[in-house]
């Protein structure tokens, strides 16, 4: 894809800035340009972008850069936090009527995926032990009723239809049906309509007024561009939405429409449609969507995890030791345990942009525990000064840790090389940087 993640781009913008405590206005401006482009490429509406970038700039200017973060990450964190907030903060669940049936009205433009979504919701509620009923009110599109019937039979959910008569009449009869047979969730499929088609919008309003739905949901294609705001606004004004469902999110679109729609309607996004099968329905999580729009892995949780795992004090001690060339195997063990505190290597990699491309299994999780075992099988004296470890000690350590002499040798060699490298660095002020850049990770 032509567009790389925002994280990478901001990294480039800020590379020259490391070491500075504050960001200048010009730095922010350069960064905001990248943020703006990233959002536009993701189809976030232009006006929403403008507003958003303005807010971000205000937050970014003057904020002190956290010790452990590069300015790039600082900005990303602000952008992402703000975006998560904009997308609704936390997940919003579907409402259930206190007195059944719960009525769900589906609305949207043509081809957004309403009918398919009706089937998915039917299956979703059925799984929860509810008794859903699908109501076919798309009386215009050729074979729409037929499609709902097929979808309903796949989901094993009954479909109520009366052919091509007035939708309100169908809903009226469907309510009677629900009453009679005890259906507690009534999902109304409606025809796709353009938001500027007054006649059709009036019809939708009539259905809504009669049905008094618990949930009025706008179904919108995740690939929608700048026009998403116009449609969402019009639907919200006409029938007052309670939420939004984003479909076709299994494509490779960044889905900026989500942000636009949430921003103009203020209504939460409740579900994502992620495929053509009935169970291809996912609850919507604002934080995941934010990462997707920004085109980044979950870098921030990685940073947070890293911060939690590396205790400041220990890091300082460590830096001091490296400086004085007193870094020993106990410290090495310490470091390793801190990395382990961050989670499995696979987890950590999946949070780095591009890291999830590394095939699962190519990381030897056990390798770390073996190294740990080897060091733990050493005496304190040996850990402090590995040079005392002779052949017989090696054999003892190997059998004590359940490894082989070769593995013990390998570890000792690696440690020796590491110390050599540290010696070279310590002259150049590695101590000052402390934990930054550890293992070549970007923090």
């Amino acid at each position: 894809m032509a567009f790389e993640g925002l994280a990478d781009k901001l990294q480039t913008v800020f590379r020259k800035l490391t070491g500075r405590g504050k960001l200048s206005e010009a730095d922010i401006k350069a960064a905001m340009r990248e943020v703006r482009l990233a959002l536009l490429e993701a189809d976030v509406n232009y006006l929403v972008v403008k507003d958003f970038v303005k807010r971000i700039s205000e937050k970014a200017v003057g904020q002190e850069v956290m010790n452990s973060l590069t300015p790039g990450q600082q900005i990303i964190k602000i952008v992402r936090d703000e975006m998560v907030e904009l997308l609704g903060g936390t997940r919003t669940a579907m409402n259930i009527a206190s007195k059944p049936p719960t009525v769900i009205l589906m609305a949207g433009l043509q081809g957004a995926g309403k009918t398919t979504m009706c089937g998915k919701l039917g299956a979703y509620y059925k799984k929860q032990g509810k008794r859903p009923l699908l109501v076919a009110c798309d009386v215009y599109r050729p074979a729409a009723i037929e499609q709902l019937k097929v979808v309903g039979s796949q989901a094993d959910v009954p479909v109520f239809e009366m052919g091509q008569i007035k939708p309100v009449e169908i809903v009226r009869a469907a309510f009677d049906e629900a009453d009679r047979y005890g259906y507690d969730i009534v999902i109304i499929d409606t025809a796709g309509r353009l938001h500027i088609d007054d006649e059709m919008m009036a019809e939708l309003k009539e259905i809504r007024d009669f049905a008094e739905p618990t949930e009025t949901l706008l179904v919108i294609d995740a690939m929608t561009g700048q026009d998403a705001v116009n449609a969402a606004k019009a639907f919200n004004e006409e029938v007052e939405l309670t939420g939004v469902i984003l479909t076709k999110a299994d494509g490779d679109t960044r889905g900026g429409a989500a942000l636009s729609v949430k921003e103009v309607t203020g209504k939460p996004i409740k579900f994502l449609g992620v495929g053509e099968k009935l169970d291809d329905l996912e609850p919507f999580y604002p934080d995941r969507m934010a990462s997707r729009i920004l085109g980044m892995g979950d870098v921030l949780s990685l940073i947070e995890k890293a911060e939690a795992a590396f205790e400041e004090k220990k890091a300082l001690e460590l830096a001091e030791k490296i400086k004085k060339d007193k870094f020993d195997l106990s410290d090495y063990l310490d470091q390793m345990q801190q990395i382990k505190n961050m989670g499995s290597m696979q987890d950590i990699l999946s949070m780095i942009p591009g890291g999830n491309k590394i095939a699962p299994g190519s990381i030897d999780e056990k390798g770390l525990s073996r190294v740990e075992a080897i060091i733990l099988s050493m005496t304190p004296e040996e850990r402090k000064d590995p040079s005392v470890i002779n052949g017989s000690r090696r054999r003892r350590i190997a059998s004590g840790s359940g490894t082989s002499v070769q593995e013990v040798n390998r570890l000792l060699n690696q440690f020796g090389q590491m110390k050599k490298m540290m010696k070279q660095f310590s002259g150049k002020g590695l101590g000052k940087r402390g934990k930054k850049g550890f293992m070549g990770l970007p923090f």
């Binding site: 894809m1 482009l37 536009l40 490429e41 993701a42 189809d43 232009y46 006006l47 433009l109 043509q110 081809g111 957004a112 995926g113 009918t115 215009y140 599109r141 050729p142 074979a143 729409a144 037929e146 499609q147 709902l148 019937k149 097929v150 979808v151 796949q154 353009l194 938001h195 500027i196 294609d221 690939m223 929608t224 561009g225 700048q226 026009d227 998403a228 116009n230 449609a231 076709k248 299994d250 494509g251 490779d252 679109t253 960044r254 900026g256 429409a257 053509e276």
Partner: protein, 299 residues
């Protein structure tokens, strides 16, 4: 209503929107300065032209302002119109019969509806049309297409439910077309997201069946794009044309407020032109697209 009027009325909303925006920008500026350029860029982005292409267009405009010494906002407008026209203009290959048209695209863009309209167009031109219902996947897709075939008054080759080999439908349809002496065979395919490898391979198989069974026919593959789609449209076109050679675009749902500006970026990057536009749900609501006229109606 003549063709031109129809095109104009069909695209009125689209045009009104872009025009309004750009004209209002132009009118509010008496001088040509960087602010004007920024505003023009913004107007283009709002039409889904995309940031990169918008900047490119405005950059070219900047160059022309300099080299041609443009002074008035009116001159700038004409220059921009010119640039857009240049971008979307193309020369169409003349029809040669028999002709096999393969219609592809992601889900919900309006493939089936567009096929009904194209069938109607060729039928009206006195051609024998045959429709093949090779969307064997989506619930009731064949039934929907059958209704459109009825409306257009053309025969359709379709399988009953439970049959799910689209390539087999295509094979039968081509066989039937040869016997009937059909001029135009239009093949409907299932909507598929371009990042689904298996479904894209299925499309490749259909394409191979056409090449093998009917090599003498002229082939035309059209990708249907929803005008409301944003920047992902470019990826769609690229991915589909990696699988099947794509000759053009049918741009649907232009009767809404969406501007379909991404076709500029698509033409710019891939060279694939818009050939038809869909402007409503009626069977006659499809028009051949003309690049020059499009630009003229825009500004």
């Amino acid at each position: 209503m003549g063709f031109f009027e129809k095109l104009k009325s069909g695209m009125k909303k689209t045009r009104d929107n872009i025009q309004e925006k750009i004209v209002s920008v132009l009118n509010s500026f008496t001088r040509i300065d960087e602010d004007l350029m920024d505003e023009l860029e913004e107007a283009l982005i709002l039409c889904d032209v995309g940031a990169a292409t918008s900047m490119k267009l405005v950059d070219r405009l900047r160059g022309r302002i300099k080299s041609e010494g443009l002074r008035s906002a009116e001159d700038v407008k004409n220059a921009l119109k010119d640039e857009i026209a240049k971008l979307v203009d193309f020369e169409d290959v003349p029809d040669r019969f028999p002709k096999v048209m393969l219609i592809v695209g992601v889900n919900g863009v309006g493939k089936t509806t567009s096929i009904g309209k194209i069938a109607n167009l060729y039928k009206k031109a006195g051609k024998n049309v045959l429709i093949a219902a090779a969307d064997t996947f989506r619930a009731a897709a064949s039934e929907q297409l059958e209704i459109w075939a009825d409306r257009a008054g053309v025969p359709i080759v379709m399988y009953g439910q439970g049959q799910n080999d689209p390539a087999a439908v295509v094979y039968d349809a081509l066989d039937s077309a040869k016997h009937r002496g059909s001029d135009v065979i239009i093949i409907d395919t299932a909507g598929r997201l371009h990042n689904k490898v298996n479904l894209m391979n299925e499309l490749l198989k259909i394409s191979r069946v056409i090449d093998r069974e009917f090599p003498e026919a002229q082939r035309e593959t059209l990708i249907v794009l929803d005008a409301t789609t944003g920047q992902n449209a470019l990826t769609q076109v690229k991915k589909f044309s990696e699988i099947v050679h794509t000759d053009g675009i049918i741009l649907t749902k232009l009767d809404g407020t969406a501007k379909g500006g991404m076709v500029l970026a698509i033409k710019d990057e891939t060279g694939i032109p818009v050939k038809y536009i869909g402007v409503g749900e009626g069977i006659d609501d499809l028009e051949r697209f003309n690049g020059q006229e499009f630009a003229d109606t825009l500004l």
